[in-house]
């Protein structure tokens, strides 16, 4: 199968959906000629014209608000939010307005919009351009949250998001834009709420999101050499969350590590660990281990930044101890 970059995959997904449905349009800062700073959207304005690929002023709350209103009245906007860190600016439009319209109107209004944004540290971008804020939006009822882990997921989830009748937030890992993966030429969609077993294994389950799937896979590779067969499971969407697949895996392996690049405290790993514990308590050999980012703003210095996120080495070490029964004594 051909291999394309994550960047290309997102571009294809949006282009295909724009060809299919004239109501779909794109807006954001420097999305047209510049094709975004990450060049993900290059070529789209040439095909679809400046009416459907709209360069906006630097007004995040404003243009997200416009997207909500456009979506409520029949359009299907895809909004580009250049950095996930800017989510803070649009929380009111996203969480008070978009997320609640359908419910508040008793089902009469819908807000079919997609907010594309990103996550991920270790790019030396410092505290305001490196955050992984998926926990904030996953907490708000009415928002769906997708976390593609490779070009394949990026394309399939984006297409599903654009067709969804609800506001969807998609987090791409900004360090993965140039990473290639096999992506079929033929059209496909990836349903929301369907976790994917990236690598089967019987000894320990590594549940990892987005950027952390690569970390988990690298760790699983190393562990295999030591005779530990780690299963890597990618939930693909946080909302809806495919509890069944996660539970099935953990019940089989009896051990789990949850890895996410958001801050650990009050974050994504807590929710997933809690659901596993609630529903697989007596299958667990040890408490579910959480590995999130450190609870510190992201430091600029490379010497510090690399310490703040989960690494393959860290996962290997933890899995090794977990499988050796060492973490049992901690609790």
């Amino acid at each position: 199968m051909r291999e394309i970059t994550l960047s290309r995959a997102v571009n294809e997904a949006i282009a295909e959906e724009m060809r299919r449905d004239p109501r779909v349009f794109l807006m954001g800062e420097d999305v047209a000629e510049a094709g975004t700073p990450f060049k993900v959207l290059s070529g789209l304005v040439e095909e679809f014209g400046p009416e459907r690929v709209l360069d906006t002023p630097i007004s995040e709350p404003g243009f997200v608000g416009l997207a909500v209103g456009a979506a409520m009245t029949g359009a299907r906007p895809v909004v580009d939010l250049m950095f996930g860190d800017f989510l803070y600016l649009v929380m009111d439009q996203l969480c008070n307005q978009a997320a609640k319209q359908h419910y508040m109107s008793g089902g009469k209004l819908t807000v079919p919009m997609v907010l594309r944004t990103n996550l991920g540290a270790t790019r030396r971008s410092a505290a305001q351009h490196s955050q992984s804020l998926q926990a904030l939006v996953a907490h708000i009822p009415g928002l769906k949250v997708a976390m593609p882990s490779s070009a394949y997921e990026a394309k399939g989830l984006m297409k599903t998001a654009i067709r969804d009748e609800n506001p969807v937030v998609i987090f791409e890992d900004k360090l993965m834009y140039q990473d290639k993966a096999p992506v079929p030429e033929a059209e496909y969609l990836i349903p929301f709420g369907a976790a994917h077993i990236k690598r089967p294994g019987r000894d320990v389950t590594l549940i990892a999101t987005s950027s952390m799937v690569q970390v988990a896979e690298a760790a699983a590779g190393t562990l295999a050499h030591e005779g530990i067969e780690a299963e890597v499971v990618d939930p693909r969407t946080l909302v809806p969350l495919d509890e069944a697949t996660l539970l099935e895996s953990v019940k089989r392996t009896s051990r789990a590590i949850v890895i996410d690049e958001g801050h650990q405290s009050y974050g994504v790993t807590a929710e997933i660990a809690s659901r596993l514990t609630e529903k697989a308590f007596y299958h667990l050999d040890a408490p579910v281990v959480r590995m999130g980012a450190m609870d510190v703003p992201v430091p600029f210095s490379p010497a510090l930044e690399d310490l703040t996120v989960p690494t393959p080495g860290g996962v290997v070490e933890t899995a090794r101890r977990l499988c050796a029964g060492e973490l049992i004594h901690a609790a």
């Binding site: 909500v68 209103g69 456009a70 009111d92 307005q97 109107s105």
Partner: protein, 325 residues
């Protein structure tokens, strides 16, 4: 269209709509005072000429966005008493199946995209509706209602800029009733509100919001021009709310005087003024207007009774409508 609105039928319809709003609010206030209404609500009484003058210039395919003080816009845009009272009482037959209440009442069928409990919260929505119209090549216009207090929200400047850059068919209608909550406008708004819109290259108007004919004439003109792609526009409407900020705001002398309230009610009431004009111009007789008022009062009473007796939504609806399929 312009002609159609200058005939007697249209005048009477405007009058009726203003009285319907006042009557709706009196009943809503009564429901609150008799502890039959859950929560608080914000009365539109005194501002009827604004909603009616503007909404009468719109068709059902035109959209509006409303505010926390939204009953007036809702009635003016064509909503029914029954579904409105049901909504205010949290009943299943309300416009939003009881889930929205006063602060989120919406009426899709007549183009009301909903009240909003975030001050200024609908400015993006209205502008986005206008963007959709432009992208889809549709000629509908969107009116964004908000209060003077809402001009302090940065969102307004962001969306005005985009509306101006892209020539969107949106009209920003600022209901300047002199207060945001318990504070006078001049204490929280520096400079000039019209100048703020003009700075973005947006044509701005100021109009007496108690004069329904003046409001309607301006609105018809701007709506027609917005349909032709000459928008956006800004209108500041000078008006006044008769009640407190919300129904529970009873003792308000610490922030505004009884004389001031009396002056507006006695000398600038939009309904009394219009009524005087209708009679003086021979468009309607006093008795006719009395009868209309009485009929509306009956409608309202019936709707209230209906809503009081109506059923609450069943428990299983609590987790319906979080997501659309």
């Amino acid at each position: 269209m312009t002609d159609a609105r200058t005939n007697s039928e249209d005048y009477l319809r405007m009058y009726r709509q203003m009285v319907r709003i006042r009557t709706f609010e009196d009943n809503a206030n009564q429901l609150y005072l008799s502890a039959k209404m859950p929560g608080l609500t914000h009365m539109y009484s005194g501002e009827e000429a604004v909603a009616v003058g503007i909404c009468e210039a719109l068709t059902d395919s035109d959209r509006i966005t409303s505010t926390h003080r939204g009953h007036g816009h809702c009635v003016a845009k064509g909503a029914e008493f029954r579904e409105m009272f049901c909504e205010l009482l949290g009943k299943a037959e309300g416009y939003c199946r009881g889930k929205g209440g006063s602060m989120h009442i919406a009426d899709q069928s007549h183009g009301n995209l909903g009240a909003n409990a975030i001050v200024g919260g609908s400015m993006g929505i209205a502008t986005g509706s206008a963007l959709r119209a432009k992208l889809a090549g549709s000629d509908d216009v969107t009116v964004c209602f908000f209060g003077d207090g809402a001009t302090a929200q940065g969102l307004w400047y962001e969306v005005m800029n985009m509306a101006a850059l892209w020539k969107l068919p949106v009209i920003y209608a600022c209901e300047n009733n002199g207060y945001s909550e318990y504070t006078k406008t001049e204490e929280i708004a520096a400079g000039s509100i019209t100048a703020r819109a003009e700075a973005f290259g947006i044509e701005a108007h100021r109009v007496d919001g108690q004069d329904v004919l003046a409001v309607n004439a301006l609105a018809r003109d701007l709506v027609a021009r917005a349909r032709r792609g000459e928008g956006p526009f800004f209108v500041e409407l000078e008006t006044y709310r008769y009640h407190g900020h919300h129904v529970g705001d009873i003792n308000r002398e610490y922030y505004r005087s009884k004389e001031e309230e009396r002056d507006w009610k006695e000398n600038r009431d939009p309904i009394l003024r219009f009524r005087g004009w209708l009679v003086a111009e021979g468009i309607a007789a006093e008795a006719e207007l009395e009868a209309m008022t009485a009929e509306i009062a009956e409608d309202a009473a019936a709707a209230v009774a209906y809503a009081e007796a109506a059923a609450y939504p069943p428990a299983h609806e609590v987790d319906m409508h979080v997501f659309a399929d």
